[in-house]
């Protein structure tokens, strides 16, 4: 059964937390748990979602949930999955929710290990493109040109000088059973990927763009719009890796303006015409590769 607003579980599993207004990460967690249901066992490392959801005695998960060490999301998932199996529990899904830093930087080793072992877990990276919980510092998934509190935009350097790490393809290179990209802007696509992942044996990885209004410098009402526009302008893409092959889910005939997408966000406001050209050229090059090589 495909997941939609009509079929989505009306129960809430993540509520009463203190996430900021317009938080894309909490939207992702809330809806994923609706898809996976009450038998999800959630692991969240240090980061926004654990900081807002686990403040004793105000604990905000209706299902089983635990904070892992920052680097240990995947390895703790491994232990929980093995432990539940040993207890003879069959109906459960071990799911991790880690941010971009928790996934692409400090947690990448444990994630790689879990994929290598093909542990039966779902790992969701909610990507808001910087260490937002600690106050908007650059992570390995901060895009080129973004201003953060550790990549200031000045006369000499225009924000972050390096492009985003390509976690989707890094994960796929392990020949993982299932990997996908998504965005909270296209929720049906995202949640159907979650449901699909929940039916596949082995390690599953879903990388979901989850804007942070505070860190991106957008109005709190624009989270979903920004999460759509990043796909529409081609700077993010909706894709899957399955049965050893890449597949693009959405191939827009024309892209919306990269410049419009960037200019709406305070973190990119300093970019020069030349910076925007670098970003646009890089988008075009990536899409040329995708269209040539992916299904």
């Amino acid at each position: 059964m495909s997941v939609s607003a009509k079929t989505l579980d009306q129960n809430e599993y993540f509520y009463g937390h203190k996430a900021c207004a317009g938080c894309g990460g909490s939207l992702a967690v809330r809806n994923v748990l609706k898809v996976l249901g009450k038998n999800a066992v959630a692991v969240l490392p240090a980061g926004c979602m654990s900081a807002v959801g686990f403040n004793f005695p105000q604990l905000c998960f209706a299902n089983n949930a635990i904070i892992s060490t920052f680097a240990g999301t995947a390895s703790m998932l491994t232990g929980i999955e093995a432990g539940f199996r040993r207890r003879g529990i069959k109906d459960f899904t071990a799911v991790g929710f880690a941010g971009d830093g928790g996934t692409a930087d400090i947690g990448i080793q444990a994630l790689s290990g879990a994929i290598d072992r093909n542990d039966n877990i779902i790992y969701i990276c909610y990507d808001n493109e910087a260490y937002m919980n600690t106050g908007i510092q650059k992570s390995g998934l901060t895009p080129f040109g973004a201003k953060t509190t550790t990549t200031p935009a000045g006369q000499n350097i225009h924000g972050n000088i390096r492009p985003k790490k390509n976690m989707f393809e890094i994960v796929a290179a392990h020949d993982i059973p299932y990997a996908a990209t998504a965005t909270v802007g296209y929720m049906n696509d995202f949640l159907n990927k979650v449901e699909k992942a929940s039916k596949i044996q082995g390690t599953k990885y879903i990388h979901v763009i989850a804007p942070c209004p505070t860190g991106w410098g957008i109005p709190v009402s624009d989270t979903v719009d920004a999460a759509r526009e990043i796909v529409d302008c081609g700077l993010w893409y909706l894709a899957e890796y399955e049965n050893h092959e890449f597949k693009i889910n959405r191939d827009p005939k024309t892209f919306t303006s990269v410049e419009d997408y960037l200019r709406k966000q305070a973190r990119f406001r300093h970019l020069s015409e030349q910076d925007i050209k670098i970003i646009t050229d890089s988008r075009d090059k990536k899409w040329e590769f995708i269209r040539k090589n992916w299904n």
Binding site: K38, N39, V41, V43, S50, A51, G53, F54, N55, F56, P57, L59, C60, F61, A62, N63, N64, A65, I66, I67, S68, T69, A71, G72, A74, S75, M76, L77, T78, G79, I80, E81, A82, G83, F84, R85, R86, R87, I89, D91, F92, Q109, A110, S112, G113, D116, R117
Partner: protein
């Protein structure tokens, strides 16, 4: 059944008898034999456990915590750099009250690189909230593998347990070891049952944040639980003796200390040599004794002070140094002596760092210098005056 086993092998036999559900393993010398043996036991079906090849020590303990949070018995093993690499998880496991058992092969810490035995790795983690025991021989290693689960998992304790074996000297030295039967082990060690687990019937949020109002209370409870381990250690040893016929002596192991004038305090595998020399000195009319610390946490402050109360002078021999101060065991012992109002002089002897041999003659010299009052407060065995200045 009597077998000829190294310390590592004996420990692996003990773990097989304890039947952990999940074993997370990452290799590091001189711990490797333990995880190799356990993998063979899982392969041949004599141990029914999930053997998980983690990609680092940090993940080894993180995975063990996941298993423990899922409500099952978990084991891992490490050494030296590996212990330091997982240090974050040590504090996490004790704070989460996950009764994981871990073997640590005591090994020197880099730099300079060195694979041989000293105790700087585990002693640097005394504050991490783990029960810390130090085995003397292969038999005690096996027995501690079993007893550690009984103590760690006891409802009043619920605290992780680190069993330390001197690298190579104990991990790789072969001795005759009595390996109990699974039936005996099953009689001794009950299955792990806990409320401190994720549960589909009764969902929980675990490993949460606690602010300034409550954080301190959680920490105090952790501290109190460590002290509650003391009677549980006695209970475990009493039951162990009933079933296996071997009686251990709690937090300390005192040898000829009752009337001793000169007592050497130490820990780990060097204790046997120290006892032999104390025996020889007794034959020459010197009232020598040896006190082996079996548990560094909970620290046996009262038992230790009581056991050495007759002493005119004390030596603390340890394979450790806290740079800029003195040996950490010495600091702990002195605090206990001071707390008990003891005024006999105590001297620290640092030796064996990076696996340097501590000889028969070195131990005799320790007794001689504390007897003559010529020892310094902190003495470095085998370091000459030039290096010492």
């Amino acid at each position: 059944m009597e077998k000829f086993l190294s310390g590592d092998e004996a420990f692996a036999e003990g773990i097989r008898l304890a039947c952990p559900d999940v074993i997370s393993a990452y290799p590091i010398t001189p711990q490797t034999i333990v995880v190799e043996k356990l993998s063979e036991m899982v392969e041949d079906g004599s141990l029914d456990a999930e053997f998980i090849h983690v990609e680092s020590e940090h993940s080894a303990l993180s995975c063990a915590m996941g298993a423990s949070a899922a409500g099952v018995r978990a084991f891992t093993a490490t050494s030296s750099q590996g212990l330091l690499y997982m240090a974050e998880c040590l504090y996490y496991a004790s704070g989460g009250r996950f009764p994981i058992v871990m073997m640590n092969a005591n090994r020197s810490t880099a730099l300079p690189w060195n694979i041989y035995g000293d105790q700087r790795d585990s002693l640097s983690q005394l504050d991490s909230g783990w029960i810390q025991a130090y085995a003397e021989n292969a038999q005690e290693s096996l027995d501690l593998a079993l007893m550690s689960y009984y103590i760690a998992e006891h409802k009043t304790v619920s605290t992780p347990f680190m069993v330390n074996l001197d690298g190579f000297i104990l991990t790789h030295t072969y001795e005759q070891v009595d390996v109990p039967t699974p039936e005996q082990a099953g009689k001794f060690l009950p299955p792990y049952e806990t409320e401190n687990k994720l549960d589909p019937e009764n969902p929980k949020n675990m490993a949460f944040s606690a602010g300034p109002d409550t954080n301190y209370i959680f920490k105090y409870k952790e501290h109190a639980a460590m002290f509650r381990a003391i009677p549980v250690i006695e209970e475990a040893e009493r039951r162990f003796a009933e079933i296996f016929g071997r009686q251990y002596s709690g937090l300390i192991d005192a040898y000829l200390t009752e009337d001793a004038d000169y007592i050497l305090i130490t820990l780990g595998s060097i204790a046997g040599l120290c006892r032999e020399i104390a025996g020889q000195l007794r034959e020459n009319g010197v009232k020598a004794g040896v006190l082996r610390i079996r548990y560094m946490r909970p620290f046996p402050a009262e038992a230790l002070a009581k056991a050495v109360s007759s002493a005119k002078a004390l030596a603390v021999l340890e394979k450790d140094i806290s740079f800029g101060n003195e040996g950490t065991v010495f600091t702990n012992v002195n605090s206990a002596l001071h707390g008990a109002g003891m005024t006999a002089p105590a001297y620290n002897f640092i030796g064996g760092l990076g696996g340097r041999n501590i000889s028969h003659q070195d131990i005799i010299r320790i007794f001689e210098t504390i007897q003559s009052g010529t020892a310094k407060r902190v003495n470095f065995i085998g370091i000459g005056e030039e290096e010492n200045s």
